[in-house]
Symmetry: C2
Subunit: 766 residues, 2 copies
């Protein structure tokens, strides 16, 4: 067991390394040459341009002004200065709400820490249990924890009462936060400028029709069923292969630029090999080779483009349907269209840049099967990932290393080395395992068939959180005592499981302190340093960049990776909540992490990240749900822990807590969640009416026309497929625009309505 | 343990009693005097009138035609003759689909029984385990059950494979049935005549407004947010007290009629006492007394009626809003109106006769608290109800009775008495307990705040099913071995629970056979005899009836009690599915029950029951879900049972079954459920367009005007409150009807829209 000295040393090392990172960052960011690495957001906004224009040659690359170095920590107050409303304008609501999660953690944990130190630490410290037990090595940390309270002691009431206070406070803060975020979202949506997705609905699973093309079928269906509101639509092409070609061509063009630059500098003609990665095969002139290759690809690409546009098989049974008003779109997105609920599925169209094009054409039955398969796969991934972790951790203690590598014994016996190994190794082993995971989880979410990048990220975050909960949290608490958790859990009574985990919780406090420092503190410091983008930018800058536009492309601002960072916050919050009543000494470490993260991410969001999409904080219900899950998990563990302490009376006192917490969640869900999934008709009506009053002559059709074209078509100069334009003059559309219908029209419309309905009904029944 | 002889005797007794019931029914139903008891449906339809008009005096009361007695079982083929489409016209979809549940049970269980008898019975019979164990009394029934197969035998593979076959067959039948019912519902809805609820939406939680009355607020809100579709609305009065007065007055009037009739017959003036139930107090002339009382009450009633109509506090924040088209109503019912999801809640209006008026005004927060409280209450009800049952059952065995009542010993020792006690007592004790339950559960559902009778019934059925599952099924299987189930379950590993229950399942086969006969067979036979309505009708007929209208009112046709009968079917199905692989001999008893029930209920539905509401089989998703639950429960029990049999290989083979079954449920839910909760826009459009073509001059407003007035107002001759009529000439309404707006109008409308939205937004945020 690590002693207080070990922890102190590890903390010092980690603080030093974090400080080193910060100093490195402070120096690097002041160099003009790195300006595009540390302030790309401003370049993308067009507010900032390369500071290398004026001054001497040296000044272009190195900052020689000593005064600026003295104020090297200035970025911190700078990051905090920008007011929230301005921040929303600058970076969007997603990022602002994301950094508020850290603030929320602080709002919850700081009062918890104060209370715990004022009330629980004295109660624990004066418990005097550990001192009385002989043959037990314990550290001062343990003396502050609940382990120091004797079994069956009346002191445990203090922990029970404090746990009620903690839960009530947390729920109060969560409720206020949910209310605030909801109001922020509604305000944000109301103040948003006109955007194509406000008028559009994504329609999936369009049933095949033997007589009509997809485009005609969509048009007729919506003309008939939304006669007063339908405006236009955009079919979706299966352009995945074309997108591949475009990406490949771009890569070749990069190589061509690289060799051209090289040629200019060295004056010798560069050569390359035709085989794999340019390492094997016959040697050829590089520039000629790549020029020829690009020409070949352009030809192929054009052919493919022709094929996609002209082959009706390339049109997938999905479409973006646009309406004349937000009201019309809100109605269509929230209602069921056909009596068969697996066809004509409508949902709000994601932002054009948020669409995940590959998943638009999955039929309903496939979707359910994919979800089943991924659920099973995720179960196996979660529970069989444990075996390697347990193996590494069994190595990562002093005795294990001595046994496997006996020749290291003299080194390990040195006190300082021993401390380092004990402080670092378990955390690092885990970290390596976790770094390969997010991409696997993202792939699994993609297989599940979500249609927007934002929902993919949300889904992956959910998976990642569960994974961390099972493997990092529970896995680390009880691996030592029970290797095959799953099997042992199945053979334990449900009341035993919280006991088994709960009783191990106090023992693992030192491990988690180390983990927080290695994973949390150092990780965040590394985040701000941006070492990888720094290196890559300079490589690109040296070899590829010729024009300013090239330099803009060489910047890699990155974006907030919600799918991995949010579960991490949740995990730290879980640690904080669990240990608040068990070993309060852990809380300051987490609070430092939250403060530090808040500042770093606020800085990054302002100066660096460039978000791909803007979902208007649509992830908040997920965040809230996971907070609640954390609370319930820690309540169960607390019940288990107390019952092993023979606190027979105070354990049942805790039973109402999880019930009330879950009820609180249900209440919040009903009260706030719909603001994140639906768009109320009233709000739609307000915006519509406003717009109609301020811009009575707006041509919405031309505004929306190209919004939902696949990006490969947008990038090129090619015209849009002719099918789309034809609809402008289509008789049915004109017909739909009219409000008054003559008797003849009614009859023909009636025939059409019934015709559709019966067709679909046959499909429903068969 | 009951032997085959006991079972045989019990079966004979039960068959005889059922037969006696049937004969009694056959005779009674042929008597003209009982005609209104056994054929009230036809009277209500106006197709049949009292057969007592013609013929001699005796013939009026007794059927003297001997031939009809010979054909006394004729009602059975008669009941089966009517084709389904005609049946739907005659009794509505609810009843038809309900009796199809019995048919579904037969479709599942008959093939299961055949397979079980062909495959499993020989396997069990030749197991020869029980014979080898000495000191074990066993019956022939046990020899047919899985108990007779040796532990760890390869024969258990047969059971595993057959269980897969059973599940697959059941899921196939369930899927087909869901498809059929969905198609039936859609056809039914499409062919329905115009009904007010097709155009109406129930709006609840209307926010209070300081400047406007509820009626004005509703009107403005919908004029603004559904300008092209809003037609009219009806506010809801809190007329609960008034309804009480009306009911009380009706009762007094009955007594007055009774005494007047008595007076006419006996010529002496009848007297009554003024105290409780006419038993205490001073004696007065009955007719004078009741006339005076009625007058008093009429005055009070009128005063209350005035108050309800004129006091704005009597208007509750709910309203029925009607639209110009089904499309408009479908849109409003399926969308969210305001950004605060707890106000302006819209849902399809129930049929006027389906509304549960008392629950219309419950605010959102109250609803969530009520649901929490009722969930806790239901938990306690379910688990603490067990104690009395266990107590009674411990009495209800021979040894128990001999111990408690030793003087009965000589009587009990007689063989036949012993058999009767063993056959009857446990079932009856349980039955008495259960008969008090449905009304408690219904009250709990009412407290939960559902707004329609149909949803109340569905909710109660769900509760009743869970109660039966825990108390009748699991309770009877393991009470003998573990009294405090809940506590023991909490202290058992989750894998142990199916084992504990599973291992007891084969032993309880005889008990459940008895239960089926007493509860099922005799219960159904009693259902058709209608003893209670028979007696009450004749009492009323003798003392109260004067005119034909009185006689019509004296009929009590009753209705299908979905909340109690459907859980019973589910329970029998569960028994059938569990025992299909364990003790197949149980299946024929259940099949007989299903056939018998099917015929009886078909007869009752055609000739007797008068449904209060018509929900269009909206209960089917619940039925389907419970079938799935039954299957999963029996799969878990089967896994438990097999693992106690040391079938180490075949138990894991069963693990995919529950996962696949749950997935099947999710699939079906996505595929079919929405047909039962939403109304697709396409179907709405078809009906609207049809109607507009066939009846272009329909005045929908006058058609809907009075549909949603509280029944106490309808019954009286009083005019409707003047508030409602005023709206006809309201400027905003006319304004909403216009499609073209002048510039000035747009501005004023804009102001109003924003005004509303901001008001509600303030509410959202605060």
């Amino acid at each position: 067991m690590a002693t207080l000295k070990d922890i102190g040393l590890a903390a010092a090392i980690n603080l030093l390394s974090a400080f080193a990172f910060l100093v490195a960052f402070a120096i690097l960011r002041l160099q003009p040459i790195n300006d595009r690495v540390y302030f790309p957001k401003w370049y993308n906004k067009g507010v900032r341009s390369s500071p290398t224009r004026s001054g001497t040659f040296v000044k272009k690359f190195v900052n020689l002004d000593c005064k600026t170095y003295l104020r090297f920590l200035n970025w911190m107050p700078d990051a905090l200065k920008m007011p929230e409303s301005e921040l929303i304008d600058h970076v969007g609501l997603d990022s602002v709400v994301y950094i508020r999660i850290y603030l929320l953690g602080l709002k919850v944990l700081i009062p918890l820490a104060v209370l715990a130190f004022v009330v629980l630490v004295p109660v624990n410290w004066t418990g005097h249990t550990l001192e009385r037990i002989e043959d037990l090595t314990f550290s001062d940390i343990d003396k502050l924890s609940i382990s120091n309270v004797p079994s069956g002691s009346k002191r445990l009431y203090a922990h029970t009462v404090m746990f009620y206070v903690f839960t009530l406070w947390t729920c109060y803060v969560l409720h206020e936060e949910y209310k605030t975020i909801t109001a922020m979202r509604l305000r944000f949506l109301a103040s948003e400028n006109r955007r194509p997705d406000q008028f559009s609905v994504l329609v999936r699973n369009i049933p095949p029709d033997p007589d009509e093309s997809v485009s005609e079928h969509v048009e007729h269906f919506f003309c008939v069923n939304h006669p007063d509101h339908y405006l236009t639509h955009q079919v979706v092409y299966n352009a995945n292969k074309l997108a591949e070609f475009v990406a490949k061509k771009k890569k070749l063009q990069n190589w061509l630029t690289y060799y051209k630059n090289k040629c200019e500098r060295t004056t010798t003609k560069p050569t390359t090999k035709t085989g794999l990665w340019g390492l094997w095969g016959t040697e050829v002139d590089a520039i000629d080779y790549y020029t020829a290759e690009i020409e070949k690809f352009t030809e192929q690409e054009n052919k493919e483009r022709e094929r996609v546009i002209n082959d009706p098989k390339c049109i997938i049974p999905a479409a973006f349907v646009s309406f004349k008003s937000r009201w019309g779109a809100a109605v269509c997105a929230q209602t069921q269209q056909a009596s068969n609920p697996t066809i004509w599925l409508t949902e709000w169209a994601p932002e054009p840049c948020d669409i995940f094009w590959n998943n638009l054409s999955i039929p309903y039955v496939d979707l359910t099967i994919r979800k089943l398969l991924m659920a099973v796969a995720f179960f196996f991934l979660t529970f069989f990932f444990m075996i390697p972790i347990a193996f590494v951790q069994s190595l990562a203690n002093i005795e294990g290393i001595q046994k496997v590598l006996p020749f290291l014994k003299p080194l390990i016996d040195m006190e300082s080395v021993k401390s380092i190994i004990q402080g670092f190794l378990p955390g690092i082993a885990l970290k390596i395992f976790l770094s390969v995971l997010p991409s696997i989880l993202m792939t699994m979410s993609k297989i599940e068939g979500f249609t927007s990048l934002s929902s993919l990220e949300r889904r992956s975050a959910g998976k990642y959180y569960l994974f961390i909960l099972v493997n990092v949290f529970i896995g680390n608490i009880i691996t030592g005592t029970a290797l095959q958790q799953l099997k042992s859990f199945l053979n334990q009574p449900p009341t035993e499981i919280p006991k088994i985990i709960g009783v191990s919780v106090p023992m693992k406090a030192t491990f988690f302190i180390t983990y927080i420092m290695v994973d949390g503190w150092a990780g965040i410091a590394a985040e701000i340093l941006r070492l990888v983008p720094l290196v890559i930018f300079h490589l690109k800058n040296t070899f590829l960049v010729k024009t300013d536009q090239d330099r803009d492309e060489a910047m890699d601002p990155g974006y907030l990776k919600f799918s991995t960072s949010e579960p991490q916050i949740q995990f730290y919050f879980l640690l904080g909540f669990v240990y608040a009543a068990v070993t309060p000494i852990l809380l300051p470490f987490i609070i430092v992490f939250f403060i530090f993260s808040y500042m770093v991410f606020r800085h990054q969001v302002i100066n660096v990240y460039d978000q791909i999409y803007e979902s208007g904080a649509a992830f908040w219900p997920d965040v809230h749900r996971r907070f609640i899950m954390n609370i319930v998990v820690s309540q169960l563990l607390m019940m288990g822990l107390l019952s092993t302490k023979n606190a027979d009376i105070s354990t049942p006192l805790l039973i109402p807590l999880p019930i009330l917490t879950i009820w609180f969640h249900i209440y919040c869900k009903g009260r706030f969640q719909s603001a994140f999934v639906t768009f109320p008709l009233q709000d739609a009506m307000v915006k519509d009416t406003l717009e109609r009053a301020t811009e009575p002559n707006l041509n919405l059709r031309s505004y929306i026309k190209d919004a939902y074209v696949h990006p490969v078509f947008k990038a090129s100069e090619l015209e849009r497929p002719p099918v789309i334009d034809e609809e402008e003059n289509h008789p049915l559309l004109r017909f739909a625009n009219r409000n008054q219908l003559s008797g003849c029209d009614v009859r023909s419309k009636l025939q059409r309505v019934i015709h559709f309905a019966e067709k679909d009904k046959i499909r429903t029944v068969s």
